[in-house]
């Protein structure tokens, strides 16, 4: 392959991470570009001689490579349908389609760069002030401004991914895989701790990766020891994005499993070691955003990691040894270093000049030097994000010109090492880190032991076994040696105006203007100008922002303080946060039959049930005339055992339960302590100390927790054991005049005669050859009916047997809709439909059930007061005078222009051939025979009559007692 890569590619470098044996090709704005495996998108483009990678947000100025890292503001690109890809971090891959963002019609010729000409009008607050008035015009403004929004495009056809989450529980998590992080990991693991070592870059090593031959040798030695340590799990291309109480840490793992998908690792670490190193800070001067202005770490990364010559002729502004090392690297790479301005000796740069890239630089003495590269090494920013999240307030040290952790504020489970903690030689830093790692392991062991000690045990004499990680590390605290702090000149803002925030196009002048307008604290100026609020979230610009505000207000940097670093540390895709959706769906064992017989599904909470099979009115008629069968498996079922079950029932239900005989069933209503109806159902006594409670389908989980709460927190002395058996049984209700004839055909061991097994009784027996079935004689539909609970595995068998054996009796399956018609004909209310969150017991027609002469039951005081004052609406049966009109549910009942109630249920009754309703009305309208006015949604008013009772069909209940 001839010329597989670009003109700026250097010969082999000692520490290069590219694989020259594996060339690759991708496209950049439609043109082919060549690189090697290990290249980032931008390093491959830079090797090909590209200098401009994007246009800036507000002024559409050309932007190039500044940091050559994830946090490079000018290197955000679109890759396929993925916007805002960090091009100086994302590895290039063969076949990638890479385009520039925020450019129109092209990167080279950007029409929107006219913004730059009008720059003096686009000062801080321009948008707030200009587009506020007139307010009605905002939609028009918005539609135009949206075209100027920075960022890529999202395709609606982007395939949905199913990101998984992982949970991790290391003893020690180390944020940062540089030399300090590696040394800490090794010593923590040697002390017996399990360690998760998280590194943002594609490889461990931090600054050693682009360092000297000695650095590379030190890196190889550390990496070998990490790899040999089985207690250390290494994650590269992963970031700790947030820290919460008790070291709950969100770790974002990129390229999980090779794909570009991100994965969130919810981590609970006992101790956290913060070792992120330092981020090199840009310098503020005229033209500091031109392509060709680079940080010293950027040129060192380009040369040493990717073998790319960053330019031809360079000026270097250096204030530290890293800048000096960059000069050596540049010379070795064949870059002519035309001038070195040493800030330690008073050197400075006042301007970079050029249109689409640096063409010349003006230095402190006024000399103008032609060049295509300006390298700055003016100092460091401490990325204190995880420290802030731990409650620390980093303090500014003017001698070192950067912020340091405040050790006195750090919680005991957070430790700090590496460049964020101090300076020193590699040996000093790794020695410090090793001590911190040992101490982190020791504290992890103590925390694990303390957690066990703080957990109450079932037997005081037998404490829990120590958990994993307990007792690791040495017994006594390990004090790391002090790290030196080296002097560094305070270099933030040069003598000319330049950009402070590259992502948001905020200049030093904008910040000064904000201060002049009264936004005289860093937090206010930040919000007004949006400095530090762009994609980089302050990593490059925070300290410079503070320096400008401090200078403008006359305060010191220490007095001004930084803006707050908040999670997430880097952007995270919403899919990674959301993870996989778990929405369990429940079907009864009879679902195959329902599907085969055309059931129209109804979603009822987690359950999918048959709403109807064909005509619900016909299904309801068949129940009244012959016999029907409905799948009621979702009904909540609780198995109650123990001598104190009657006490529990008396507490939970408003009615009395002390004298329920074996084989008897009673209907009960539960209210909460505020008197509001909570649930209803029947409970039967199967044996001396054995009861079966049924609840509403939607209330099954609530009632279980409700009962457990009263048992465990108020009456732990009561001997009751509750087992939820809702899905252990398949449940079906056989209802209709022919129900007994059908049940007789399939049941063994139960006398079904009305004398031996009357209404409101329960029996156990064998149905269709299945033992241990429960039969209740109860009637939600108002017909003679048997509710059968059969072991779930036999549900379909029993269901099909009943339909088979009942064919000559006219049996038909009915769904939830027919059941709702039937129960409304009978006037049975549904909790949550005919009652709501304010409906107290006497508003639900429960005068007959509520026994205020009981000593206590849940809700008793409120119900006693409601009984005394007669307050609240009343539930009534209601029939429209016009038999054909069915008022929609929630239609209002009005009186003289006021709302006096509402329809809670309404249907056309197939039995009566007329419309029927339940309604909540004001108490004074509840008198039987009262004529009320119902306002239909159309606005039409109709008359309706209050009935003497809730039941519209068979009010005396004779049909179900036969």
């Amino acid at each position: 392959m001839s010329e597989p890569t670009g003109a700026m590619r250097l010969p082999r470098q000692l520490g290069e991470v590219i694989d020259r044996g594996e060339p690759l090709e991708f496209t950049w704005n439609g043109r082919p570009c060549h690189g090697y495996a290990g290249d980032t998108i931008v390093s491959a483009l830079a090797a090909a001689g590209e200098r401009v990678f994007s246009r800036s947000m507000k002024y559409h100025r050309p932007r190039g490579l500044l940091t050559a890292s994830f946090h490079d503001p000018g290197c955000m690109v679109q890759v396929g349908d993925e916007p805002n890809v960090r091009g100086a971090h994302r590895l290039a891959a063969g076949g990638m389609v890479v385009t520039s963002q925020n450019t129109w019609p092209s990167l080279r010729l950007d029409a929107k760069s006219v913004n730059g000409l009008g720059g003096r009008f686009l000062t801080a607050g321009f948008y707030y002030k200009t587009f506020m008035r007139p307010r009605f015009a905002w939609p028009a403004y918005e539609s135009v401004l949206r075209r100027f929004v920075n960022g890529g495009t999202v395709s609606p056809d982007t395939p949905h991914t199913r990101p998984e989450k992982r949970h991790a529980h290391p003893d020690v998590l180390i944020a940062g895989g540089g030399p300090a992080g590696m040394a800490a990991a090794i010593s923590a693991a040697e002390a017996g701790a399990s360690v998760l070592l998280v590194e943002e870059e594609h490889g461990l090593g931090g600054h050693l990766r682009w360092g000297s031959e000695a650095d590379l040798a030190a890196l190889a030695e550390l990496a070998g020891r990490v790899a040999a340590e089985p207690g250390v799990e290494v994650l590269t291309d992963a970031v700790v994005i947030a820290r919460y109480d008790g070291n709950a840490l969100a770790v974002l793992e990129r390229r999980h499993g090779g794909a570009e998908a991100e994965r969130l690792i919810r981590t609970r670490a006992k101790t956290l070691v913060v070792a992120p190193g330092l981020i090199e800070r840009p310098y503020v001067f005229a033209g500091n955003d031109l392509p060709g202005v680079m940080l010293s770490t950027a040129v060192r990364r380009l040369i040493n990691l990717h073998a790319v010559r960053p330019g031809q002729r360079a000026v270097v502004l250096t204030a530290n040894p890293d800048g000096d090392a960059a000069i050596a690297d540049l010379k070795r790479a064949g870059v002519e270093v035309a001038r070195v301005e040493d800030a330690r000796l008073g050197g400075d740069v006042s301007a970079a000049v050029g249109r689409t890239g640096v063409r010349a630089v003006q230095v402190a003495d006024g000399t103008r030097i032609d060049c295509d590269l300006l390298v700055t090494a003016v100092g460091w920013t401490a990325p204190t994000s995880l420290l802030n999240a731990s409650g620390d307030r980093p303090v500014y040290n003017p001698r070192a010109a950067r912020f340091f952790p405040d050790a006195s504020r750090l919680p005991g489970d957070v430790l700090v090492t590496g460049g964020i903690a101090g300076d020193g030689s590699l040996e000093e830093l790794t020695e410090h880190a090793a001590a911190v790692g040992t101490e982190a392991a020791r504290r992890a062991g103590r925390i694990a032991a303390a957690r066990v000690a703080a957990t109450p045990t079932r037997r005081a004499a037998a404490p829990l076994a120590p958990g994993p990680g307990a007792g690791t590390g040495p017994a006594a605290a390990v004090m790391p040696p002090d790290l030196p702090v080296e002097a560094h000149p305070e270099l933030f803002i040069g003598r000319t105006n330049g950009f402070v925030d590259f992502s948001e196009d905020v200049s030093a002048k904008d910040l000064r203007a904000a201060v002049a307008e009264g936004y005289d604290s860093a937090e206010l100026a930040k919000r007004f100008t949006t400095a530090t609020m762009g994609p980089l979230q302050g990593k490059l610009e925070t300290v410079n922002t503070v320096a400008v505000v401090a200078a403008a207000t006359g305060a010191s940097i220490a007095g001004t303080g930084t803006t707050t670093w908040r999670p997430p540390y880097v952007p995270v895709t919403l899919g990674a946060l959301a993870g996989r959706a778990f929405e369990p769906v429940r079907y009864s064992p009879m679902q195959p039959w329902h599907e085969a017989h055309g059931a129209v599904p109804l979603v009822a909470g987690a359950w999918i049930r048959p709403d109807h099979y064909a005509d619900p009115a016909a299904e309801a008629r068949n129940v009244r005339e012959h016999v029907g069968i409905i799948d009621v498996t979702p009904i909540g079922k609780l198995d109650l055992r123990g001598p104190d079950v009657p006490a529990l029932l008396n507490l939970l239900y408003v009615n009395k339960w002390s004298k329920l005989g074996i084989g008897r069933v009673r209907y009960g209503v539960m209210c909460a302590d505020d008197g509001v109806v909570l649930d209803d159902g029947v409970t039967g006594r199967l044996a001396d100390e054995h009861y079966l409670m049924s609840t509403t389908s939607s209330g099954a989980a609530t009632v279980w927790e409700w009962a457990e709460n009263w048992l465990q927190t108020e009456h732990p002395d009561w001997r009751v054991h509750i087992t939820p058996v809702t899905t252990a049984y398949a449940s079906m209700n056989v209802a209709g005049p022919q129900a007994r004839r059908l049940i007789e055909r399939v049941t063994q061991g139960v006398d079904l005669s009305n004398e031996e097994f009357p209404y409101m009784n329960v029996r156990t027996g064998q149905i269709a050859g299945v033992d241990d079935c429960v039969l209740w004689r109860i009637g939600f539909t108002g017909e003679l009916s048997y509710e059968l609970h059969v072991p779930a595995g036999y549900g379909l068998h029993v269901w099909e047997t009943l339909l088979d054996r009942g064919a000559d009796l006219g049996i038909g399956a009915f769904g939830v809709e027919a059941q709702r018609i039937l129960r409304l004909e009978k006037g049975h209310f549904i909790v949550g439909q005919d009652t709501d969150g304010l409906t107290r017991g006497f508003s639900a027609g429960l005068e007959w059930a509520i026994k205020l002469d009981k000593d206590d039951f849940v809700g008793k005081p409120e119900l006693a007061w409601q009984f005394a004052d007669g307050s609240g609406p009343r539930l009534v049966g209601l029939q429209p005078v016009d038999r054909s009109v069915v008022p929609e549910v929630a239609s209002l009942i009005v009186e003289g222009g006021h709302i006096a109630g509402r329809i809670t249920s309404s249907r056309m009754s197939p039995t009566l051939g007329r419309s029927i309703c339940l309604a909540q009305v004001e108490a004074r309208l509840a008198e039987p025979g009262t004529e009320v006015t119902v306002r239909l949604p159309s606005g039409r008013l109709i008359a309706a009559t209050v009935m003497p009772q809730l039941a519209h069909v068979d009010p005396d209940g004779e049909r179900m007692r036969v």
């Binding site: 703080a454 109450p456 079932r458 958990g467 505020d674 927790e705």
Partner: protein, 93 residues
């Protein structure tokens, strides 16, 4: 909330496994209570900035209700003295 809670049956567990039932409130004697006292029990809580006694329900675990003392500002959690926990799901010896 991401703290760990001490469950007597399961050990230290993530708070996300629990339902927060709320501050412990003593239920007045229903036979001798005024409406004002009863509604204070129903609706009013001290909600202190400091130590508070709470009930949590280990819904995604052992399904036991546990009593926890928690500092609402620091989320520090400490075990409940045995006598105080007797009516809040404190495990029987």
């Amino acid at each position: 909330m991401t703290i760990l809670l001490p469950c007597a049956w399961c050990g230290p567990r993530e708070a996300t496994e629990f339902a927060h039932i709320g501050e412990v409130a003593a239920r007045p004697d229903p036979g001798a209570v005024t409406p004002a006292q009863w509604r204070e029990y129903l609706y009013l809580r001290a909600n202190p900035c400091g130590w508070t006694s709470e009930t949590w329900y280990h819904r995604m675990g052992c399904r036991r209700f546990i009593r926890v003392e928690r500092h609402t500002e620091t989320n520090e959690v400490r075990p409940v003295p045995a006598a105080a926990g007797a009516r809040a799901g404190e495990p029987a010896p």
